[in-house]
């Protein structure tokens, strides 16, 4: 019984940094935010929770710990979540 509580304890209370760029920064109104989240949450769920009006559509990608990732895969122990709208560098 104590073991189950322990597991829940270490897997909750996670901090994650949200980064936004270009038009997603304008849409969300911030460029960086620290946030509590659960390892079982997906990027889509996290953004639905903090910005219900935001729709990434098909063009905005998400990067988890600086790697392009699946919107619907749990973030696990990630520490950074970045919105990557279509790029246009150079």
């Amino acid at each position: 019984m104590w073991f189950v509580y322990f597991v829940v304890f270490i897997q909750t209370g996670m901090k994650i940094t949200i980064l936004t760029f270009a038009q997603t920064r304008t849409q969300l109104g911030f460029s960086e935010k620290n946030l509590d989240c659960e390892p079982t949450e997906t990027p889509r769920q996290i953004f639905q929770r903090i910005a219900p009006q935001f729709d990434p559509g098909k063009s905005v990608r998400v990067a988890v710990d600086q790697e392009y990732a699946d919107w619907d895969k749990p973030v696990g122990n990630a520490t950074e979540l970045a919105l990557i709208p279509p790029v246009s560098g150079g």
Binding site: L19, F21, A63, A82, I84, P85, V87, S88, G89, G90
Partner: protein, 127 residues
């Protein structure tokens, strides 16, 4: 292969080449400049932003993938961030290779590739 990636908020200063090998036969340098007209509109300049840490990772991936096909000795990449006025360089890439064709082909592929995966954004700037 030696790679160097820089993001800078000040004008890009090209570092003098310091080649690792006496076998470098070709150096190709590309500079992308901000033009006065963007989609037919006169602009004072462009504004660039990047997810720097991620851009570095993505660039390194691309460099190593492309250099596998077109061997080269050195890639220097510098991208300016923030406001860049007309006529100034927003992107500079220098490739040093043993062979001319490898250097030129690698450059051509590099110029096309970063647009898709490297998180850098530009927008018409109001200074």
């Amino acid at each position: 292969m030696k790679t160097q990636i820089e993001f800078t908020h000040t004008p890009i200063a090209v570092p003098p080449p310091q080649f690792v090998s006496k076998e470098i036969g070709a150096v190709v340098e590309f500079s992308g400049l901000v033009r006065e007209l963007e989609n037919g509109q006169k602009i004072p300049g462009l504004h660039y932003e990047a997810h720097e840490a991620m851009a570095r990772k993505e660039l390194e991936k691309i460099f190593h993938e492309l250099a596998g096909q077109h061997p080269c000795e050195e890639i220097y990449f510098s991208h300016r961030l923030g406001f860049v006025p007309i006529g100034e360089v927003s992107l500079l890439i220098r490739i040093a290779a043993r062979h001319r064709q490898a250097a030129l082909t690698l450059m051509a592929e590099l110029i096309d590739r970063p647009k898709a995966d490297v998180p850098v954004w530009k927008s018409a700037a109001v200074k």
